[in-house]
């Protein structure tokens, strides 16, 4: 389990980094936290000619709130989402979801943008990004573009990033105090990829669901947002009826693949179960905590 020969570049600026990417294109791979790339290298499943290490780019190490957006630079470790109190207030779903990513050792090293760019369909942060409507900022020599999360994930381990683009930032819209959020997942062992995971958000007004978000990990080739289920929640005057309708919708629509850990049928069942559980939890937070810091 040693990697094949590769060239190593460690640019000190975004400009240098995108120059390297422009030169090498698909033959280059970006190294941030390395929690997925290094095992792939050691297993010789990834054979890039050049590894572009962005850990020297200090300019990408920022986690800030700015005009209603939480901006996460490409060098921000996942652990900061759970450690920095503001995230619980600004984008509580991120603080919830990140706790399910591997173990503390992995989160101390792994980056938020790295997880998004890796685009494992069972991963937590991509589902959270889709649920809240994050925007991903891609930088290349030809400029900067923003990609909505739902368009960013195009297939398993595949994104809309071009080979010459570096994901420099993920932007998450800060949520209002009338929203409640929850992330739940089932894995047989804590820290594993989810058999199924659900990101849920509800906005409460006058005892009714006014708006809702539902996105799923491990339920398809990319993180899936279920708009029909969101609509069902808003349309039902009775919360429990709405939840049942949303769960039924999840079971009806989602077509997850089966593997050695869970059949497609089991995953669909889990999606429905977790939809209901996550929505109830999100609702309790929306209605009791008014979106503030919750237990």
């Amino acid at each position: 389990m040693k990697p094949p020969v590769f060239d190593y570049q460690d640019p000190a600026s975004v400009e240098e980094a995108v120059d390297v990417l422009a030169r090498h294109g698909a033959a280059a791979k970006v190294l941030a936290g390395g929690q997925s790339l290094v095992p792939l290298l050691n297993l010789r499943l990834a054979r890039p000619e050049v590894v572009v290490d962005i850990n020297r780019i200090d300019a990408l190490d920022y986690l800030t709130e700015e005009s209603g957006w939480l901006r996460v630079g490409a060098r921000v470790r996942q652990r900061r989402l759970e450690r920095e109190g503001d995230v619980r207030r600004t984008v509580p779903l991120l603080a919830e979801a990140v706790r399910f990513v591997g173990h503390p050792q992995i989160r101390n090293r792994g980056t938020v943008c790295g997880s998004l760019a890796h685009a494992d369909p069972a991963a937590e942060l991509p589902a959270a990004a889709v649920a809240v409507g994050a925007r991903l900022v891609a930088h290349s020599r030809s400029g900067i573009r923003e990609i909505p999360a739902e368009e960013f994930f195009t297939g398993p381990l595949t994104t809309a990033l071009r080979p010459d683009e570096l994901l420099v930032e993920a932007r998450f819209p800060c949520t209002g105090p009338d929203w409640g959020w929850a992330f739940l997942e089932v894995s047989n062992r804590h820290g594993d990829y989810a058999l199924c995971g659900v990101a849920a958000g509800v906005r409460a007004r006058d005892g009714r669901v006014q708006d809702a978000r539902l996105a799923y990990a491990g339920a398809g080739p990319v993180p899936v947002r279920l708009r029909q289920a969101e609509v069902a929640l808003v349309e039902h005057a009775d919360l429990e009826e709405g939840i049942r309708a949303a769960a039924a919708e999840a079971r009806r629509v989602l077509r997850p693949d089966g593997d050695l850990h869970a059949s497609s049928e089991f995953r669909r069942h889990l999606a429905a179960v977790l939809t209901a559980r996550a929505l109830r939890l999100a609702w309790s937070r929306a209605s009791t905590c008014s979106g503030g810091a919750h237990a």
């Binding site: 594993d192 089991f266 069942h269």
Partner: protein, 779 residues
């Protein structure tokens, strides 16, 4: 004041060294000029090798040696030695050093590359071209037994390596007069030990002294030395095998030989430079032995009061591609099945079957979990059928304390009669039931149910065969410094032998346990022994240590008697001194006694039987000794997500005289964790082409501290009459009954569904399916 060392909860002598990273594991061995080796392994489960071309690998500038089967000396072109023959083992097929013309499992070694670095060796291995003609893979055990879809070894015309029958009484007659006969098919699937340290070998050849030194992460350094000497035509004295610190063994690190254990020394001798090979985790999953797959067709016959009239089990054992270790696992399985129960009529019959999968040899439990799973499940189902309490049906069938020694009527893995030496089975069950307040369980369960929680109580009983022969030995030496040096041939893989064996010596010699230094697993320090397996080190080596220490004690008394001008009967050993009882000022240190026992001039009295405070003794038990226990646990089931949570876990454990309860607790905790892993988390899943789908820790889920509950241990001590310290083995009791317990607990938690759990390990997907089926049946 005499300190009691034996039985005291002493912290481990070895821990300070290990905890600060000063251990010496095989990968810590760094020698000048050392080279690194890589094994090219078969990607196919079953294929003919049409052509191997190593030219491009040899052209790699950093490569020094590439070996294929054709490059091996004649003695290594033959299959590797047969370890444990058995009259029923008709086809004792063993593995090759490198595959000659056919590969029989994914991971079988095909070529061996030595280069200046591991990186270069892996690069070069990719340059070797092998043309394979894939053959149908023999994966399913029942198909394999029927010769489908191919033969793993064509020359024997069958996939069945052995067919073996053992009978006690007349099962058919018992069945004919039974009130209830209950038959089921039970499946136990593959598992593996996953030690923290994978395997590894370093070899160094001194061409002038013509001496070979091998560091090997093995459980059996002395047999490895003897085997290497034979294969390479060297004297045993010129081969030194060191099993330094070993990061977990659990059984699979005793095979004699894994191919690398031969290839690395061969390469070191060919090249005249030290060679290192460290197995990586990806290799480990396919190249280190597995265990566990057996399919039992089992039947129990009872009268209406729940007395067992007879049991029959007819089972298939998946041996993997070769069967070097013989029939140990299935024999242990059939011999463990009767457990603590009186079974007057018993029919056990198995076929050991070749498949295109990794080789099987004992892994912690070694057939015992299978036997216990089948027996305990049969009793649970019978109790349900008879409307009887599951504890009561066990009480009615226990062998009673006055019935020892109890002859089960079978022949055990050591070819000796299966005779239980001692125990108290009813007491162990009552202790466990009391600990979990079994009489009040129905109310407790209803209370959980009222909260919307599904909690089940499970318990399971077992008897653990352990401490088998043939022998172990020990040399105890007191040096003039007063320090005591102990050398024994068993290897140690984390069991705490540096402490527990030291306690045996400290007790005999009245010295501080920290002044007793134990060396294990170095053939240069002690050259006789067989190894650490079958929970035997503390029992067999421990007894040898005791005998040697007692001999040194006698010698010390004799020598000190002349120094102190007293009679040996008036002397005592304590605090590192030999002193006159009642007159502590008349004393001499043990170090001074050692010096006096080895004079430079003068005369040694003939009754000293030689110089020095030193003795070597061997212990050869007449047969194995039998530990036993009961586990009980509260398990919460989430029926919607098909996941489990252990709320409580209690172990009542009886392994005879306890040497160190702290170490014993550790053994039990680790065993339970491994048992839980093998019941609901860890799975080795093969596809139809014989590829292992769960060959990494991403897919092979070892439970972590989050999943393992706190484990409460209750000790019961029924000493063994078969050895001088009264000890019994403790290595496997933590694992053995866990699958049976988990099955019972889940059934109890979901009792309205009337599940029958007949397969282990389970996992959420399988439990989901069981729940779905039961729900459909009920609606």
């Amino acid at each position: 004041m005499t300190t009691r060392w034996l039985g005291a909860p002493i912290k481990r002598n070895e821990d300070p060294r290990l905890l600060v990273g000063q251990g010496l594991f095989v990968d810590d061995v760094q020698l000048p000029g050392m080279l690194h080796a890589v094994v090219l392994r078969s990607p196919h489960a079953h294929a003919r090798i049409l052509r191997i071309d190593v030219r491009r690998a040899l052209e790699h500038p950093d490569v020094l040696l590439v070996l294929t089967h054709a490059d091996l000396p004649p003695s290594l072109r033959e299959p590797l030695p047969k370890l444990i023959p058995h009259p029923d083992l008709k086809h004792h097929k063993t593995q090759y050093t490198l595959a000659p013309d056919k590969v029989r499992h994914v991971g079988e070694p095909v070529a061996f590359v030595v280069a200046t670095s591991r990186y270069a060796a892996e690069d070069a291995a990719e340059l070797i071209e092998v043309d394979y003609e894939p053959l149908p893979a023999v994966v399913d055990l029942e198909d394999a037994a029927a010769g489908r879809p191919a033969l793993v070894h064509e020359d024997i015309g069958t996939n069945v390596a052995a067919h073996s029958v053992q009978r006690v009484g007349d099962y058919e007659a018992a069945r004919a007069r039974a009130d209830l006969v209950l038959a089921r098919r039970f499946v136990v699937d593959r598992g593996c030990a996953s030690p923290m340290e994978t395997r590894g070998v370093v070899a160094q050849w001194d061409p002038r002294a013509r001496q070979l030194t091998v560091w090997d992460s093995t459980q059996a350094p002395i047999p490895i030395r003897n085997g290497l000497a034979a294969l390479f035509g060297l004297a045993q004295k010129d081969v030194r095998v060191i099993a330094p610190d070993v990061g977990g063994g659990f059984g699979p690190k005793i095979m004699m030989f894994y191919p690398e254990e031969v290839l690395v020394p061969l390469a070191a001798m060919r090249l005249g430079r030290p060679v290192k090979w460290i197995e990586d985790r990806r290799e480990h999953f396919v190249a280190t032995n597995h265990e566990r797959t057996q399919i039992h067709h089992a039947e129990i016959a009872l009268d209406r009061e729940g007395h067992i009239l007879g049991v029959r089990t007819v089972f298939l054992h998946d041996a993997g591609a070769y069967i070097p270790y013989g029939l140990i696992v299935p024999i242990v399985a059939e011999c463990t099945l009767p457990g603590p129960y009186r079974i007057p009529n018993y029919h056990a019959e198995f076929r050991a079957v070749f498949t295109n999968k990794t080789i099987v040899s004992p892994y912690r439990g070694a057939g015992r979990p299978h036997g216990v799973f089948v027996m305990e499940r049969l009793l649970d189902l019978a109790a349900r059928e008879l409307g009887m309490d599951r504890a009561e049906i066990r009480r009615r069938n226990f062998i009673q304390p006055h019935e020892f020694p109890y002859d089960v009527g079978l022949i055990y893995q050591d070819n000796a009669p299966l005779v239980y030496d001692s125990g108290n089975y009813p007491a162990a069950l009552e202790r466990a039931l009391e600990a979990v307040d079994y009489p009040r369980w129905p109310e407790e369960k209803a209370r959980y149910r009222a909260q919307g929680r599904r909690v089940g109580l499970g318990f399971a009983c077992y008897v653990e065969g352990s401490g088998i022969g043939p022998y172990e030995g020990c040399r105890v030496t007191v040096e003039p410094s007063g320090k005591v040096y102990v050398a024994t041939g068993v290897g140690t893989q984390g069991q705490g032998h540096f402490t527990s064996l030291a306690q045996v010596v400290a007790e005999a010699l009245g010295v501080d346990v920290r002044d007793v230094h134990v060396v294990t697993g170095d053939t240069g320090a002690f050259g006789w022994g067989t190894g650490t397996f079958a929970s035997r080190a503390a029992v067999v080596a421990g007894s040898a240590v005791h005998l040697a220490a007692q001999a040194v004690r006698q010698k010390a008394l004799q020598v000190a008697a002349s120094l102190l001008e007293a009679s040996p009967e008036d002397l005592e050993l304590a605090d590192g001194q030999v002193r006159v009882r009642g007159a502590p000022s008349r004393s001499v240190s043990l170090g001074e006694v050692a010096r006096a026992a080895n004079p430079l001039r003068g005369v040694i009295p003939s009754e000293w039987e030689g110089p020095g405070l030193e003795a070597t003794r061997y212990f050869a038990p007449p047969r194995g000794t039998f530990s036993h226990g009961v586990h009980a646990a509260l398990v919460e089931v989430d029926p919607e997500t098909a996941t489990l949570r252990f709320l409580r876990y209690v172990v009542v454990h009886d392994c005879g005289t306890i040497l160190n309860p702290l170490i014993l607790d550790g053994q039990i905790h680790g065993g339970v964790a491994q048992g839980i892993g093998g019941s609901f988390f860890e799975r080795l899943v093969y596809d139809d082409s014989g590829q292992l789908l769960s060959g990494s820790f991403m897919d092979f889920h070892i439970p972590t501290a989050v999943e393992i509950p706190e484990i409460e241990v209750i000790h019961q001590e029924t000493p063994s009459p078969l050895n001088p310290i009264g000890a019994k083995g403790a290595g496997e009791g933590g694992v053995i009954p866990v699958p049976a317990l988990v099955a019972q607990a889940i059934e109890d938690a979901l009792d309205d569904l009337e599940l029958e759990i007949l397969r282990m390990p389970l996992h959420p997907d399988a439990l989901f399916e069981l729940i779905q089926k039961a729900t459909r049946r009920g609606s």
